[in-house]
Chain length 207, copies 2
């Protein structure tokens, strides 16, 4: 088993899908939580001046979704065929398109911007992007026979989307009383025993 | 050989890396160029209400970089190891981060916005994002022994970045007289015989 070291800030956000995959497959890894002070010294040494970074026996991989795909492929949840893999990738790309907007909210929260600014971002940036994104996810779930987003088994796309729903839920962007299909999907993924066990004891940050 | 149909607007932009991969491997595909009128009728039927879409024997794949990765994997230029694949993915993710800004310029051009608006986007949005993005690409090329972005052979990341440099060049965002390393890289990829042959006869749109 290689040595894995995942460096990220002390929040869920972009690193949590990778952490969930490690938990799901019971794979030990160093969960390096980087403070803002530490980050200032570390930034220049990372591949892209960004976190998260995954180190695998000394090889450094940047970009959260490239890291998550790498682990998904390694542990067998990238999709059962090349076409399923591409569809899982494309769902994650939809998520990436959405978080370009959502990150304006999470970073305003992270850096303690004032309530007026945060509300403006909430209503004018995030809500329209959320409607588009969750519309796509709902449409996929409507057609799904298995309750999973791709084919008839779990893929990393399920983990990425379900974890993002945690953030949307914690910040008042989704209401499962109204969005029943999304709620069922969220519960399905969070009922997987290893995920449930990890989520119960993790630091459940809002972002 | 499966039947491939790639649907996109009549520009290079998000579909060109896939077209370049088809050209590189001499794989026939239907290059479906969608007019704005046709798009209005077609939009609802696409997986995500977006183009490009690749159809492979009836299976529809959305999201440009998921399509391009799918073809790269199929034709053997996704990377020579799981780690190389992840690093190629992460470079493409950097490109995706950049084109979130760059697309504000290309769509303003595509939809014929006025010169003042286009210049504002050019200077305030694209240029800072470009500096960050090309800084990363330059740093990768500085360390490369082969002249390729990943390992010692061509990957799809080279094709994506080299094609994006075409767009930056055509729109005055890069000057190879000043950016010699980028120019060498651009020429290296565009000197590959099958790519050179395709580029010489394609419709070389500005975006």
């Amino acid at each position: 088993m290689p040595n894995y070291k995942l460096s990220y800030f002390d929040v869920r956000a972009l690193a949590e899908p990778a952490r969930l995959i490690f938990a799901l497959f019971d794979v030990p890894f160093e969960d390096h939580r980087v403070s803002v002070e530490e980050w200032n010294d570390m930034k220049e040494k990372t591949p892209y001046g960004q976190l998260p970074v995954l180190e695998v026996d000394g090889v450094e991989i940047g970009q959260s979704m490239s890291i998550t795909r790498y682990l998904a492929r390694k542990f067998g949840i990238a999709g059962k065929s090349p076409e399923e893999e591409a569809i899982a990738d494309s769902i994650v790309d939809q998520y990436r398109d959405f978080i370009f907007s959502f990150r304006q909210f999470t970073s305003a929260t992270f850096y303690g911007k004032d309530a007026e600014h945060i509300n403006k971002v909430r209503n004018e940036v995030v809500k329209p992007a959320r409607d588009l994104f969750l519309g796509i996810i709902n449409k996929i779930l409507d057609k799904s026979q298995s309750g999973y987003l791709v084919g008839n088994s779990l893929t990393w796309a399920d983990i990425v989307i379900a974890d993002n729903l945690t953030s949307l839920l914690k910040n008042g962007f989704v209401d499962f009383a109204k969005e029943k299909k999304l709620g069922e999907f969220y519960n399905k993924i969070h009922s997987i025993p290893k995920i449930k066990e990890y989520v119960a004891k993790r630091k459940g940050t809002n972002i």
